[in-house]
Each structure stands twice: as C-alpha cells, then as structure tokens.
C-alpha cells in the first residue's frame, strides 16, 4: 500500500488498509472543518469525525470520482452529519453501530490536550506556508469565501487563487503528515 496513492485510489481500491490510510491522511482536515463549525467542543468534534468516517466506510462504493474529489465527498458527509446532529440534538451513531465499532471514550484532560494540539498543528502548518497560499486557504477553506471575493481582495484573478489554494492544501497535507 503506497502512501503516494491518491485519496480516490485509497477509497476505491485500497481495501481496509487503504481506508485506514485515507483516514490518517484526511482526518485532520475533516476535524478542522467540523471544529470551525461547532467551536471548541473536542468531545463533539470527535463524535462527528467518527460518524463521518464510519458513514464514508459504509458507503465507499457510492463514491464516484467523476462527481468530485474524495475530500469533497468526505466534507459533504461531514456536513450532513453536522446538519443531522443540529436537527436531532445529538450526533448520529447508526453507522458506527452497524459497523460494530467501539465507542471512543476519553477523559476531559485528554480532550483538552487534543483541542490545543490540533489547533496548534493547523496554525503551525499554516504559518509555514508562503503568505499568498496561507491567505488563499484561510479565505477559501476556512472562511468559505467565493474565489471571486478572494481574488478581488488580493487583486489577482480567480485562476491564480485556485492555484494557490490547491498548492497550499498539498503543502499542508505534506506538513501535517510529516509531523504525525
């Protein structure tokens, strides 16, 4: 199993080991996505991340690379899990139960440590990026601004912003993977 395989290859052809690798590669981004939306609630974020990946595992055969990237698909699932949690007042765990997964129980002190570490990991990785890539990622991924709005802010074309986001995300992924 090569770490150089794309997310899409890991998801479609990677088997159990490939899915584990995809999780290791992508959970920081999914966690960050959810954390931005629910705030400093590490217990809630852990629950949401767990159900997101369990649901992805259950439905991995539905993934269609033609419809978008694996990370887009994962974030779409995360979005659904979050909306569902807000509606029901609790994080669904149906997928985890169907898969027979154990519930992850952690202590408050451990959760606080994760919260501090994950935030600092992301901040550190972002800080290491060239400033133009950092601005593009913060605007697009974390603040969800349209490409056009970011382009206007920095006085560059949308195409340039897209390239910066793409390169910055690739660099972030390498950085977080190396520090793991």
């Amino acid at each position: 199993m090569s770490a150089e395989q794309s997310d899409e290859e890991l998801l479609v052809k990677g088997g159990a080991q490939g899915f584990g690798l995809l999780y290791q590669r992508r959970y920081p981004l999914v966690r960050g996505y959810l954390r931005r939306r629910v705030g400093p609630r590490p217990d809630l974020v852990l629950d949401l991340v767990a159900e997101t990946f369990a649901r992805a595992l259950e439905r991995r055969e539905q993934f269609d690379p033609q419809r978008g990237s694996a990370i887009s698909w994962l974030l779409g699932i995360a979005h659904h899990v979050l909306v569902d949690a807000a509606r029901r007042g609790r994080v669904a765990d149906e997928s985890r139960r169907r898969l027979g997964m154990e519930r992850v129980l952690v202590e408050d002190a451990q959760l606080e440590l994760i919260e501090r570490t994950s935030e600092s990991d992301l901040q550190r990785a972002l800080a290491e990026l060239p400033i133009e890539q950092r601005q593009a990622i913060e605007g697009r991924v974390l603040e969800e601004q349209p490409y056009a709005a970011i382009a206007t802010q920095i006085g560059r074309s949308e195409q340039v912003v897209r390239k910066r986001v793409s390169r910055g995300l690739a660099a972030l992924r390498r950085s977080i993977k190396e520090s793991a």
Binding site: A16, L57, E61, W73, E102
Partner: protein, 459 residues
C-alpha cells in the same frame, strides 16, 4: 495515553476488515442498483436513444418498469413511515431541462410519521421518474416511473433525497446530476459534461416567495418564484464551460418559527442558490446574500451551549436492564472475547411517540476496556404508558458497571413558536445498571431496534 483519533483509525480499519470478511463490500445501495439493472434486463424491447433523441422524448415515450427499491421494508409506524393513503404526494416546481425533452420536478411525499419527503426526477404524463439512458436501465430508452414509496435515504456526500419535519426547511444541490435522474448509483462510466446537470432543489415552506441563484455561465444571478403553498423549487442548469458553478453539493437545513428564519443557503461551493426571499404578512425579507435595499429576515436566538448536548433533567423513572449472553459463534463473528452480551432494556414510556419528530433513545456508558455497548434509538411509534423492551444492536464484553440511560428526545420542541411545535421537552427518563446475567436468560423482544432509517412501503 492513547490518542483517541489513533484509536478511532484502528477501529475504522478493523471495521473495514470485518466488512470485507463478512462479504459486505457491496453495500445496500449498490445491491439495489444492481437489482434495478437486473429488473430492467427483463424488458424485452430496448429502445436505445442517443443524446439527440432525448429532445423529442416527451412524445411517444414508452413506460418501463417502475423504479424499485428491493432493500426497503418500512412500516407506517417506524422511520419516516409510509406515504399517507390519499393525496400523499404532489409534483411541484416543474422545470425545463436545458437540452429539452422531459422536464424535471420534485415530488413531495407526506408520510404517516409526519415528514415531508422529497424526490427528484423527470416528468412524463404527470408522473415523476427516471430515464433509461446514459447507462441506466440498460439504455432501454424508456421512462421508469418513481413511486412515492421509493424514498432512498440520502447517499453520503451526494444530494439525492431527504425528509423534513413541519417547520423545517431543506435546500439541496447536486453539481453533476445524471440527466437520467438516477440517484445512488455505484461507480459509473465517465460522461461528458454535456450529459450532466447542475441541480438545486428544496422545500422552504409556505412563506417562501423566490430564490435567486448564480447561473452556471457566470452571467450573474437569476430569480425564480417558488411553488405556492410549499415553497418548493428546482433549478436545472448545464454544467458550466470551465468548472461547475458548485463543486461539492450537499444539503443545508433550517427552520421557520413565526417570522424568524433559521438557516442560510449553503456556502457557494455547496449550492448555486444565494438568496431566498420570504413574505410574512407585510414583512418581506431575505436570507443569504441580501440585495441592496432588502431586509434580512429576523433570526431566532443562537442555540445555547447545550444545543448539541443531551438533556440534563431526569424524571428518575425505573429502567430495567439485563445482559444476555450471546453464543460463541456470535461473539467470534464480532471479533469479541467470550463471553459477550447484548443489553436488554425495559421501561414504561411516559410520553407517546407519534411522529418522526421525537423518539426514545438509550445511551450506554461503560468502563469496559474492550468492546463496549453503544447507544441506540427506537425510531418508531410508542403509546403513552406502553412498556417498551429494546435490545442493543452492539455486543459487548464486560458487565460490571454499565449504565443505560433512557432519554426522550423531541426535535419538534424547537419549533415551539410555530403552530407545529408540540410535545414535551427532551428529558432523561431514567437509568438502569446492568448485572451479571444468568446464561441464556433473555427478555422477549417485542420491539426490534431499527437502526436503519426505514423507507416507506408500497401500498
């Protein structure tokens, strides 16, 4: 101290291995997809339509077999229920296809458990359905009606279907929808962008007036009225020349209480819809990207810190719990040490459950180091005063200090300001603790646990 995210990764990998070992590689949706194709294969006459033929398909189009969902065995009293017997469905928001041919629409289905479910498809002779083109139904060129009882649950990251409770709103999008209107398919053949559509659809309630969306050509925004009475809308656009107008797709939701509107259109990468306009009496207001001079709709107060948390008030009612030893084969199949157990929980329901807006759930807490019991919900109707017995779907190993807390959860209470708000606040019913069971001892199961969202059944 083990990092819980590492533990989670190991747990996921183990679950993936178990799925492979158990032959669960092809999930239900793919099996359904295969079954649909097998079903279509029995049609003797195949009309193979090329892309150009679709434009004239509105006339002389033959009906094929109905779209079926062999996986679903729903009941009127669990999950989303089944379509109500009379007047349970209606077509809304009929929209032309950019290429011509059969228009698109959404079908709204009212269910016995009080939900409004949304189907998308193409319309022929007043029916909604899917087309046998682009690889669907063996390219038989026929129209395959979609019955109101075929309600797929949403498929992961893709937008295809969802149900809402009264007072809730739903906005969905799919950036690369097959023009055959088929959903929840497995891996597909690559298709050119001209054979795909960018769609957005939703249900915004009776106060909605219009939606404004970004066009896929980048030419600006366009405003269209929504269906009167339901607030349903559907937008169908060709894929843009360079990139789709949306890249992700998904759902966003909210609710309306009085003249307060909760929720916004999704971020731009989720949805092409940018603004929704409502009318509440003399007040005309919008959510999303507010045009100059327009008013923003009032929003309800932000949810409290406990919005995602469990209820804290307890009724302290009795809850009985037993651990039932499972066979060695079941323990081994679940990769657990022997002995292993399931939990059986019994309580008397203080409140009735009559819709999908509320439910009882059991939350299991444990200090087991190995497999632990988990929580589960009883997504079904319950009479007030009924003795409820339910069993855990998960197995676990130790029985020393396991707490099983029964909760009553009511989503409808969030709409207390609207006419749909009803029922009691979410509350803890009580808690029971497990004891060492007698081997083979078991309570009779009168209410199997439904962990899979049930789907309506054909009448």
């Amino acid at each position: 101290m083990t990092d819980p995210y590492s533990f989670l990764g190991e747990s996921l990998t183990a679950a993936a291995r178990r799925r492979r070992h158990n032959g669960d590689g092809a999930p239900r949706s793919v099996r359904a997809w295969l079954a649909r194709r097998l079903n279509a294969a029995v049609i003797a006459v195949a009309l193979v339509l090329g892309g150009g033929a679709i434009a004239v398909a509105a006339t002389g189009l033959l009906n094929g077999s109905p779209v079926k969902d062999p996986a679903g065995t729903p009941t009127p009293t669990s999950g989303s229920g089944v379509p109500v017997a009379a007047g349970g469905s209606q077509l809304a928001a009929i929209t032309a296809d950019p290429e011509g041919g059969l228009p698109w629409a959404i079908q709204l289905v009212h269910t016995t458990r009080g939900e409004l479910c949304v189907q998308i498809g193409r319309v022929h002779d007043g029916q909604i359905g899917q087309l046998g083109i682009d690889g669907a139904f063996h390219d038989d060129g026929r129209f395959h009606p979609l019955s109101p009882d075929v309600l797929p649950e949403y498929g992961g990251g893709y937008a295809d279907i969802s149900c809402v409770l009264p007072g809730e709103t739903l906005m969905g999008s799919q950036p690369t929808q097959d023009r055959n209107a088929e959903w929840m398919v497995g891996p597909r053949k690559a298709k050119p962008a001209r054979d795909l559509r960018a769609i957005s659809f939703g249900v915004l309630g009776p106060h909605a007036v219009s939606v404004s969306y970004r066009t896929s050509t980048g030419a600006g925004t366009r405003t269209v009225p929504v269906s009167r009475g339901t607030g349903a809308y559907m937008i169908v656009q060709p894929i843009g020349p360079v990139v789709p107008p949306i890249v992700l797709g998904g759902f966003s939701g909210g609710f309306i209480s009085g003249d307060e509107v909760s929720g916004e259109p999704g971020p731009e990468r989720f949805d092409m819809v940018r603004t929704v306009t409502f009318r509440f009496g003399a007040l005309v207001c919008s959510i999303g990207s507010i045009p100059p001079g327009a008013k923003r709709c009032p929003t309800p107060p932000p949810p409290p810190q406990s919005a995602f948390g469990p209820p804290t008030r307890s009724l302290h009612l009795p809850v009985r719990v037993k651990a039932v030893a499972q066979s060695q084969a079941k323990c081994r199949a679940a990769f657990l040490l022997i002995p292993c157990y399931r939990a059986e929980v019994e309580f008397k329901a203080p409140y009735a459950i009559t819709s999908a807006g509320s439910e009882y759930e059991v939350e299991a807490g444990s200090t087991c180091k190995n497999a632990r019991p988990s929580g589960w919900s009883l997504n079904e109707d319950v009479a007030r005063g009924q003795t409820v017995r339910t069993v855990s779907s998960g197995l676990f190993n130790c029985t020393s200090i396991d707490e099983f807390q029964v909760r009553y959860m009511n989503a409808s209470r969030r709409f207390a300001g609207s006419s749909t708000g009803h029922g009691h606040e979410s509350v803890i019913i009580g808690a029971g603790f497990i004891g060492k069971p007698a081997r083979g001892e078991s309570l009779p199961l009168v209410h199997p646990v439904h962990v899979v969202r049930a789907r309506p059944r054909r009448h």
